[in-house]
């Protein structure tokens, strides 16, 4: 796995690999085919301030967890989808797109999944710098403020 980025053993049964968006597809294919990491646990996201970090956690029958991490720039967070390799990842990607605004190129069904229907565009509530804007209607029911 060294060709995909720096490999680090964080704990006894946990490996972290820092890779880049272009290599994530190959990294997951290799982890699945060569190392037996055949199942996706989850995709987690961290807001590091400058960057948004994506972590793909995979596990296999050997009970070792591999975490493939990506750093995406905050102003243009775009990464290719992995839902063609791991079908459940599509739902995680939609949720991450709702809450953090990361765009997954190639995901066939990039609709809102967790936020309500009237939620405005370009508002990503789990980013650290997000504050509710008093002038914006976030959906739900209109409340008359007096």
């Amino acid at each position: 796995m060294k060709e995909f980025g720096t490999v680090e053993q964080v704990r006894k049964n946990r490996i972290r690999i820092r890779t880049v968006p272009d290599k994530i597809h190959d990294a997951i294919t290799t982890a699945q085919a060569m190392l037996g990491f055949d199942r996706l646990i989850t995709i987690s996201t961290v807001d590091n301030g400058e960057t948004l970090e994506l972590l793909y956690h995979l596990i296999g029958s050997h009970r070792i967890i591999i975490s493939l991490s990506l750093d995406l720039p905050r102003d243009k967070p775009v990464t290719p989808t992995v839902s063609d390799l791991l079908p459940p990842a599509g739902i995680y990607e939609r949720q991450i797109h709702d809450l953090f605004g990361i765009t997954f190129e190639g995901n066939p069904n990039m609709k809102k999944i967790i936020l309500n229907e009237g939620w405005p565009e370009n508002e990503y509530p789990l980013r650290k710098d997000w504050k509710p804007n008093a002038g914006v209607f976030y959906g739900g029911i209109k409340v008359e403020r007096m």
């Binding site: 229907e117 509530p125 976030y138 029911i141 209109k142 409340v143 008359e144 007096m146």
Partner: protein, 177 residues
């Protein structure tokens, strides 16, 4: 409305209503603790059927709507629609700390401030979660309200005018119907 109907049939209807309230439970995003307490309420130990209380699945059959939990933005329009489906006279019980003010979820990005921003609430039950006896007490309070409303010929006699002042954060809210 305003003048109570004291005809024989209407008195019979009022009597029957107070003896057999049918409730429907709506979970608008709660943690399920309130729902478990309601289930405990229905079990033989507390046995709400001695008051004639029956839980119905459909809001079209119900007199009392129990809203458990805070209201998320996604649930707000659904809760409103459920409430609009209920036949008059209808009563709403907001259950738990979440129903009254949002509880631990107050001020989050996906929240309506409280249940009474969406539907008018008649009775609040305190607690997180409330005990089954408090829920029964709330329903019985609701029945007393129902009888008083029947005597007054409507709900108007106890409805307060909306507040005209602005509080510190400009956040006082009234129901827009």
């Amino acid at each position: 409305m305003g003048v109570p109907d004291t005809g024989m049939s209407q008195r019979l209807v009022n009597w029957a209503r107070a003896k057999s309230p049918w409730i429907t439970v709506y979970n608008s995003g709660a943690c399920n603790a309130c729902d478990i307490e309601i289930i405990a309420c229905l079990m033989p130990r507390f046995d709400v059927e001695r008051f004639g209380i029956l839980v119905k699945g459909s809001p079209r059959h119900a007199d009392i709507l129990i809203v458990t939990g805070h209201v998320t933005l996604k649930q707000a329009s659904r809760l409103r629609r459920v409430w609009e489906q209920m036949p008059e006279p209808k009563y709403v019980i907001a259950m738990g700390a979440c129903g009254a003010s949002g509880g631990v979820f107050h001020g989050l990005y996906h929240m309506v401030e409280s249940v009474d921003c969406v539907v008018p609430v008649d009775v609040y039950v305190a607690g997180c979660p409330p005990r089954p006896d408090e829920i029964i007490n709330a329903v019985v309070t609701c029945l007393n309200l129902l009888e008083e409303d029947a005597a007054h010929g409507g709900k108007e006699w106890r409805q307060k005018k909306p507040a005209t002042g602005v509080d510190a954060e400009g956040k006082s809210c009234t129901v827009v119907s």
